[in-house]
């Protein structure tokens, strides 16, 4: 039986919404990469979710490496050291994806830019299958978490914000940080594409490949850079997700990929603003569905997508095809 509560506890509501924004931040970091890669390279990378998965698994290994070597946080100093180690682990996990993504672009994706979409899709789909199995070969088929610290999960060891005292409900500090990182990434990307030289070169290349080549931009290099950048952010979000004590699974990439599509369709393909708004919307709807009516967990984001499509077929920030 479906039991909808008549009224929802305010603390619960805040937790659901924060969870939604947390998930939205994670999704944004995946979807923005996907949308930028599409905007510049013209290829929809079906293997993008796997970068996120690899990031999550890398973190479990690297964090475990640190956890067993560093003293458990007991006082402010050891907590700071521990937190710094985790930050390094997250950055390292994401950084490892730069050469991985770059190598993939240079070897197999570069030769197919001029091919029909179906081959591009098929190729990235092949990459997806290969990467999923590579993950299984390295980390096994079972869910993996970073090693525990003193019998508790990493994120619990890092609960430094006294939420209970401040707001009257419990919430993970790591997730709060992740939300801020998500917002930070959003602002960074806006600034990067609007104000920096590299960002402008990338946009110029996206709009007119030939003209960019004519003024001396190596489109090969721009493409590899963009692809690696996308891989970095996807890996980054995977690592952050993993820190929040959610076990990494070989299937997580597929789920993230499909939800990123929903985000992109809602936001408008190519729009960074759209990705952000879409991701937060999807995240919140998703979290509320999980909390209030679990069977709709997977369907709720899609329902939202269809709703948006009916009202605005080109997405909320319909910039389809151009980075904005």
């Amino acid at each position: 039986m479906i039991e909808l509560p008549l009224f929802i506890d305010l603390g619960d509501a805040a937790v659901h919404t924060l969870n939604g924004i947390f998930r939205g931040s994670i999704l944004f970091m995946i979807a923005s990469g996907l949308t930028i890669i599409f905007g510049v390279l013209g290829v929809l990378n079906l293997a993008h979710g796997e970068f996120y998965g690899i990031g999550a698994f890398l973190l479990t290994s690297i964090a475990t490496f640190f956890v067993v070597r560093i003293a458990a946080p007991t006082d402010p100093l050891s907590t700071a050291i521990f937190a710094a180690a985790i930050v390094i682990a997250v950055l390292l996990s994401a950084a490892i994806l730069i050469p991985i993504a770059g190598a993939i672009e240079a070897t197999v994706i570069r030769p197919i830019y001029d091919r029909a979409e179906m081959y591009q899709l098929l190729l990235t789909y092949a990459l997806l299958l290969i990467l999923v199995d590579t993950i299984r070969i390295i980390w096994g088929s079972q869910p993996v978490r970073p090693a525990a610290v003193d019998g508790q999960q990493i994120h619990a060891a890092l609960d430094v914000i006294p939420m209970e005292e401040l707001f009257g409900f419990q919430y993970s500090s790591v997730r709060i940080f992740t939300i801020f990182i998500g917002i930070g990434t959003f602002l960074f990307l806006l600034w990067f594409f609007d104000r920096t030289k590299t960002g402008r070169i990338i946009r110029a290349t996206a709009i007119d490949r030939e003209a960019a080549t004519a003024i001396g931009v190596s489109s090969d290099r721009v493409f590899t850079l963009v692809f690696a950048l996308g891989g970095f952010f996807a890996g980054f979000s995977g690592a952050l997700y993993s820190v929040s004590a959610i076990p990494a699974t070989a299937e997580m990439g597929g789920t993230a990929l499909v939800l990123s599509f929903v985000v992109i369709v809602i936001g408008g393909l190519g729009s960074i603003r759209g990705s952000f708004v879409g991701a937060i919307l999807v995240g919140v709807v998703w979290s509320w569905a999980i909390a209030e009516y679990p069977p709709a967990e997977i369907a709720a984001p899609f329902a939202l997508m269809i709703l948006v499509l009916l009202v605005r077929p080109e997405g909320l920030y319909g910039a389809w095809g151009e980075i904005e």
Binding site: L44, P99, D133, R221, L225, P295, E297, A299, F302, M305
Partner: protein, 386 residues
């Protein structure tokens, strides 16, 4: 059309209006048909040839054939065709579970109706979109159906539904053509279903052939090649794409309905998941989506591989992925679509074995270049441009 020229040069036999075959082609077709009909008889002689695999391969191939209409003519990539395969399977299963019907034909009818209706509804949404957006949206809609199936307790969530009487694990299979089957007669049931499948396969291939050669097919081809021009010769583009999409879903429905009848138990993972859509697309391209037989061959080959590689190694997805890469780079026209090239290539190598050595050399060069390329790129990214 290229067939016109050939028909003037070579002597052909007219099977039906618009379907002419040369003598060798006809002979090949007949041999193929006999082999297909004999599969149940000879499966015992070969370890790797199971009727189950072959039957399922044909069914996936039929779904891929429906997809090939979109790929070949409108040049649209649907990445959500599992929606119609799974929709068909679930459509039939729902009739069994919620209405209690046990007639196989009625179940199949419900399957086709349900998935066609689904394609009609989704088609309305996606017909305006082109290229990657079309792929993206069809994928998302496919996942929506998966989400509904796996989330709904009525539809059995990840367990799925059974098509046996009463929805019980020990229930009898549905009746076919008025023949009742008990649990012990499942072998006979599957045999009857197999021959029925062959009949429907031949019919659906002929229908697809005619559609592709018809004025409607020409109009779809026009849409695929230049939408604006198609509109300005008076073709109502969106409505025709919508129509083609619905036909495509109809094919998925027949295939999925028969699949449900065959498996007698279906789940979301095996019929609706996004990877299933990917597999259907792969089958169409692997076999050759520009032909009628190609998608069927693609279906049989991939199903065979999936079923057998799974037993050889845990990591069959890796193998399939590598195979896919090879298809994209080496065999873009698919097995059947490149049969001439393959034949010629083999002949040269039989005549001139030294060619093989050259092949290895070329392959080596390609690999070395790719690796060198990758290393340079990574250097550039990590250490900047020197």
């Amino acid at each position: 059309m290229s067939n016109e020229d050939q028909s003037e040069e070579k002597e052909t036999i007219r099977l039906m209006k618009g379907l002419h075959l040369t003598k060798p082609q006809l002979a090949l077709a007949l041999v193929g048909l006999v082999v297909v009909l004999l599969v149940p008889e000879i499966e015992g002689f070969f370890d790797n040839l199971q009727l189950d695999t072959f039957h399922n391969g044909i069914l996936w191939g039929m779904a891929a054939l429906g997809l090939a209409l979109l790929l070949n003519k409108t040049e649209l990539v649907s990445f959500g065709h599992a929606a119609f395969f799974g929709g068909g399977a679930y459509g039939g299963a729902m009739l069994v579970n919620f209405v209690g019907v046990d007639s196989g034909l009625l179940i199949l009818f419900a399957a086709v109706f349900f998935s066609t209706a689904m394609a009609f509804a989704i088609g309305w949404f996606v017909a305006d979109y082109v290229a990657i957006y079309f792929a993206l949206l069809t994928l998302a809609f496919g996942q929506l159906l998966y989400a509904i199936a796996i989330g709904s307790p009525t539809l059995g969530q990840d367990e799925g539904l059974r098509l046996r009487s009463g929805g019980e694990a020990s229930g009898d299979p549905p009746s076919l053509f008025g023949i009742e089957f008990t649990l012990q007669q499942q072998g006979e049931y599957r045999l009857v279903l197999y021959y029925f499948t062959i009949l429907l396969l031949i019919a659906s291939m002929i229908v697809m052939y005619r559609i592709m050669k018809s004025p409607f097919g020409s109009a779809l081809e026009a849409i695929g090649q230049n939408r604006t021009r198609a509109r300005f010769i008076g073709i109502p583009v969106e409505r025709y794409v919508w129509g083609a999409f619905t036909i495509s879903g109809f094919y998925g429905g027949i295939a999925g309905g028969l699949y449900g009848l065959r498996q007698l138990s279906i789940g979301p993972e095996g019929t609706l998941y996004v990877f299933v859509s990917g597999e259907i697309l792969f089958m169409a391209i692997l076999g050759g989506f520009q032909t009628i037989i190609g998608p069927i061959i693609g279906g049989i080959v991939l199903t065979f591989l999936l079923d057998n590689v799974r037993f050889l190694t845990e990591h069959f997805e890796l193998i399939i992925g590598i195979l896919l890469l090879l298809v994209v780079f080496v065999l873009p026209k698919g097995i059947w679509g490149s049969s001439e090239d393959i034949k010629n290539g083999l002949m040269t190598r039989v005549k001139n074995p030294a060619q093989l050595g050259a092949d290895v050399g070329t392959l080596q060069k390609m690999l070395i270049n790719a690796v060198r390329n990758a290393i340079t790129t990574i250097k550039i990214i990590l250490f900047g441009v020197k």
